[in-house]
Each structure stands twice: as C-alpha cells, then as structure tokens.
Amino acid sequence: MSDTAPELATPFRERAGKALKDDFLQQALEIATTKFITLRREAFGDFPAGDALRDRARAIKEATLQHLDRYLDQLVDNVERLGGHVHFAATAEEARDIILDIGRRTGARMAVKSKSMATEEIHLNEALERAGITPVETDLGEYIIQLAHERPSHIIAPAIHKTKGQVADLFARELGRPVPADAEALTAIARAELRQKFLDADLGITGANFAVADTGTIVLVTNEGNGRMVTSLPRVHVAVMGVEKVVPSMTDLMVFLSVLAKSATGQKLSVYTTLVRGPRRACELEGPEEFHLVLLDNGRIDQIAGTLREALYCLRCGACLNVCPVYRQIGGHAYGHTYPGPIGILLTSMLKGAPAVKDLAHASSLCGACADACPVRIDIPRMLVELRREVSEEKIAPWSERLAFALAGRLLRAPRLYRLGAPIARLLQRPFARGHTIRRLPGLAGAWTRTRDLPAVAPQTFQERWPALERERP
C-alpha cells in the first residue's frame, strides 16, 4: 500500500498557497492556535516548577533511549506476565498485518478506536475496511474527520481546520436533519451516535501515550472518556505504539504527565488518564478478554544513533504546531503527511527518508518558537538545518540551487569580487528602482517584490562610506 497521500501530487508551495486562500481554514486556524497558545502560556505561568520538570522530562527521554532495548524487554516481560501479548512490527505493513490477523482470528466485524497518531501513521483504517472490519473513530475530532473522509490536520486536534458551521453541515448531511452549529449540541449528537458502537464493537484499538516498563502499564491521556470505553467494552483491546514511548517507571510517568497536558491544551491534567494493565483478570468485572500491544519501529530505531534522535523525545503534544508561524498560516493538510508542523517534518523524514521532505525542510523561518514551546526542549530548528544539510550534501536539492549557493559561497570568500557586487547591482537595478525602493523585479527576484518592496542597493555602501567616516574621527 502506498504511504503517499493523493495531495502530494502537487508541490508543497502550491498546497500551501491553496491553504492560504481557504477562508474557512484561516478562520479556524486563527481561533484554535491562538486559544492553544494562550492556554499553554497560562498553564505554565501558574506552574513555577514547569521549567525544571521539562528539563527532567528531557533527561528521562535521553536516558531511556540509551537503554531502549532493556526497557522494552522489561515492558514485554511485564505485559506478558499480566496475560497480554506483545508483537513487534518493524514496518507499517507488519503492524497492519498483525492487527488484521488479530481481527480475523477473533472474528471481528467492527473496531472502535480512540485517537491514535500511530494508527494514522500505519494507515490502519483503510486496511481494516479492506479486511471487512468497520473502523469507528470515537474521539470527537477523529469522528468528524472520518465522516468527512479526511485526515487529521493536527496531532491533538484532528479537526482543527474545521469551523463549527462546517461540522454542523457535515452532521446534518450524515443524519438527514438540520443540526445547530453549537459545540455542545454537536458533541451530544456524536455521543448518542457512538454509544451503541462501543457496545457492538468486537475490537478496541488505541494508541498509547506512554508504556511503563516496570509495571507493564499502558497509559492513555484523553479528554472525552472514549478511551476508557474503547479499552474496557470490546472483547479484544489492541494498543499500537512507537517503541520510543516506553518510560522506565511510574515516577517517570508522573514527570511527563505534569508537562504533557499543560503543553497540549493548557490543562493541569487531561480529564482522563487511563492506565491499562493487561486483559481482564479473574474477579474483575470489566475489561477485554485479550490484550495486545503492538510495538512499532517503522524507522525509529535507526534514528537512535541518527541526526533525528531528539525527535524521538516527542510527546505528541502539538505545542510546536500551535506556535509555528508556518503551521498557523497553512494548517496541517498542506504538509501532506501524517505528522504536520515542525516536528512533523522531522518525523516524516524519520519514517520516509530525507528525500520525502526536501521541500518541507524549508517550510520554516527557523524562528525557534517550536523549540521554546516543546515540553522536552527538542531543538527542532537545529534539526531542520541538519535535514537541509542532508538535502544539499546528498544532492537531493536541485542542481540550480546547489550551484547558486556554491557561487554565493565563493563570492563571500572573495572580498574584492564582493565589493564589485554593489556597483554592478546599482547598474542592474537602475530600470527598476524608484528612489530607494524597488517595487517590481522580473524572474526569480520577483518572489520578493510581488508582495513586498525591496530596498535598492544604496548609492554608497557602508564600505564605500567608511573612508570618509574614518576621517571624521575626533
């Protein structure tokens, strides 16, 4: 199965341009990202220990990755001891096959899902449908996206690109009756629609925010209670998670929980923190008969020693998306891959290789807001620069760009040649300059002047003025 979304047929710049012209999207992004930024700022403003805990969280991630094999072994032992089954998937395809096998063996017809980026990453829903198992997304945002036949455009707010009015229209079409554009009413409708699905489903599929190695606990952080239903009502529960999500102990878990919700939604804690330990045991009244944990590699393990190592610290909180000036303008779909935003560029490269992000690597002004907001202080701009380096040095960048930068590199090392640049530019700019301003330039230079004035090269550069300035010396 292809991992490539159909929208990737058009170049990134065009996809971004289309997003900029989508008034609904612009309105939805403005409201949502501004709200998330404010909530996050307030949450950490009220929490003086926040910075120290972020450092601690980062240190735990660093240390855990150093001994990932040991913690994974421990996790596997403990999950199995509790009666669960653990599967290791090297690729997305392997992960899909494992889950489909479980579905077939248990005679599953319907699967309820709680929100999971890992299952998005392996394109599980399409595979389930082809295997005759109907997937039902039960997170409100994901439910909306599924009805609209779209993909999530944000890591934690999958329907962030939709306005209330658009959701009401979607529900009305689905139900065949008018629906008010009111968040509470829309939620009530989804809740009513989903209730029976929970009871009917054979399979409950979730991701996992964390897995605690020394207890075998799977941790789900949610706000709607659907996660709890998905993990307790169906006969079989399958949790899918990237291998990097393992944390050593419950004490470590507390550190992450103290920064995750604050970074994501500005909450002190999410409404539900669901801890799952294996299948239902004797004397327990609820819980699944079978529990499966699918550990997904899909390019992650290679990066433990790679340039993108820090991206493995990611908690998937989405804070870097909300503060990113580029994401705020174009939204998640324009990126064209499962994971959008600044961290998404790194994760996409991890999953699909640097050629897949040769344009996206430049979809950042390197303003650093992402690194500032990251709860584990991932230096995203630095790694974007490293990706750009790979794109240039591995000759993935177009030859014309490489030639231009090679010439620029030469010019900046040759001061005599460099000084000739100003008089030459003054000659060339003559037909276009009005006073100190250039309003229109032809060709590639028009990329700037189509929307912005460009200063003309000064009649006398600073270097040309210096001899006179030097003589002024008192």
């Binding site: 900029l20 002004s365 650093g368 620029a408 001061p415 200063p455 006398q460």
Partner: protein, 253 residues
C-alpha cells in the same frame, strides 16, 4: 587619553548594501560614547544564509575568514541579532577540529549585538532621540530566542524622551523573513508578515523598531507595499546621541 573601549564594527551584508546610514549612526554613537571604532576591511557576510540552507562547508569557509578578519579586535559589535547569533552560536561548531577553532571561540565570546553591548557592556541606557512619537518593539527571533535578549532594546527605548513605547501584541512572533524562506515560500512569508503588520498597525505605533536588518527589510517591504503611515526603524536610528545629564548616562568625563 585612552578611549573607554575599543570595538570593531561588523556591518553585515544587508547593513552594508541596504542600510549604510544605520552603520554610520552606530559608528558615530559609539564614538560619542568614547569607544574607538575600527572597521576591518574585507568584510562580506557572516555566512548565515549558507548555514541555514544547509551549505555548511561553504559556511565554515566564510566563518574561517571572518574569524581571521576580526582576530586582532577587542569587542566586535554587530547591528543584527541573527548575525551576532551566527558568530556566537555557530562559528565554534563550524570550525570545530580545525586550527581556527580556538579563535572562533574567542571571537564568539567577544562579539556583541548592539543593544546588548550598550546596555550590558557599556552600561549606558540614556540616549536622546530625534524621532518622537509612539514606538512598538518587534523581537527579532535570533535576538530573543537565540541570544535570550528582550530587555536591553526595550530599556533603551523606554528611556528616550519624547518616545512612548506601546505594547505590540505578538511582539515575540516571527515577522516571516527567515532568510531564504522569504523567497522560497514568498506567499507564506508574506502571510506571516501580514499578521505582524496588522498587529503593528493596531498597536497605534508611529514606528516599529527592530534590531535585525532582515526583519527590517521584511517589515519595511510590507509597510511600503501597503503604503502604511507606520515606519520600520533600526534601534540605532532612534539613538541619536548619549544623554549626559544623568549619572553614568553619558560619555566618561
């Protein structure tokens, strides 16, 4: 009498080609503060555009010649936060393992962004301005998040008589310049700029002040195109001369 300090001025490529009057002001201002200013000949660019686009071998060679050019200088003053950040933050890494590494580290530690040099090294915050009215300060990304400086430029502005500093909503948000980003994705860059300029215009400011030639190019470019009454100025354009009335405020006697 020997001067209070000696400094070499790194004009930067954008400062040299597009904003030479800003460089002139800075040199005169530093001299008025009794700083002996030199201008090492043969300056080009710090190499940040090469570095940010991933051309690190070329960036390292540019860094090497800049390090050698400024080898004999005492303090090095840079009028742009991004170029100062490049020298301070990236030069040592680019030249790591080469014979120039030690010199790169030394240059990094004696290089100062202008507002930081005035406030933190010279400890001067009182200046007079020929510009009057309401000003909004835009935090350049590299100065704010790279060099962790938000206070020095604001302190300088607050102390100017006849200048009222107004709150700029989202002052810490990027202007959308981002070097080659501005021409690789011009529509996105402009869209980010539009948001910034809407905030600037809503703030009621007569001018928006920045400490980075890249931001200035972007802000002026957008303001000019929309024929705005708001001007974008470099911080140095508001610092006409030191004010000598307060203790410690002016040149040493």
């Amino acid at each position: 009498m020997s001067p209070r300090a000696r400094a070499a001025f790194m004009v930067t490529c954008l400062g040299d080609l597009f904003y030479p009057e800003v460089g002139e002001r800075i040199v005169r201002l530093l001299r008025a503060l009794d700083v002996a200013v030199e201008f090492p000949a043969g300056q080009t660019c710090c190499g940040l555009p090469l570095f940010n686009s991933g051309y690190h071998r070329d960036a390292a060679e540019v860094a090497r010649r800049t390090v050698r050019l400024f080898e004999g200088s005492e303090a090095v003053i840079v009028p742009s936060g991004s170029c100062a950040w490049m020298v301070k933050h990236e030069y040592p890494g680019l030249l790591a393992g080469s014979p120039d590494e030690a010199a790169a580290r030394a240059l990094a530690s004696r290089t100062h962004e202008l507002s930081q040099f005035l406030v933190k090294t010279l400890r001067v915050v009182d200046f007079e301005s020929d510009v009057h009215g309401r000003v909004a300060y835009h935090d350049s990304c590299h100065l704010l998040r790279g060099l962790h400086e938000s206070e020095a430029p604001r302190a300088l502005l607050r102390n100017l008589a006849g200048v009222e500093v107004v709150e700029l909503p989202g002052s810490d948000e990027c202007c959308g310049f981002g070097g080659s980003f501005s021409v690789r994705l011009p529509e996105v860059s402009t869209s980010i700029l539009d948001r910034k300029l809407a905030n600037v215009e809503a703030s009621g400011a007569d001018c928006v002040v920045a400490c980075d030639a890249g931001c200035l190019m972007q802000l002026r470019g957008g303001l000019g195109r929309r024929a705005s009454r708001v001007r974008a100025l470099h911080l140095a354009e508001l610092l006409a001369r030191p004010r000598a009335t307060r203790a410690g405020g002016g040149p040493r006697a």
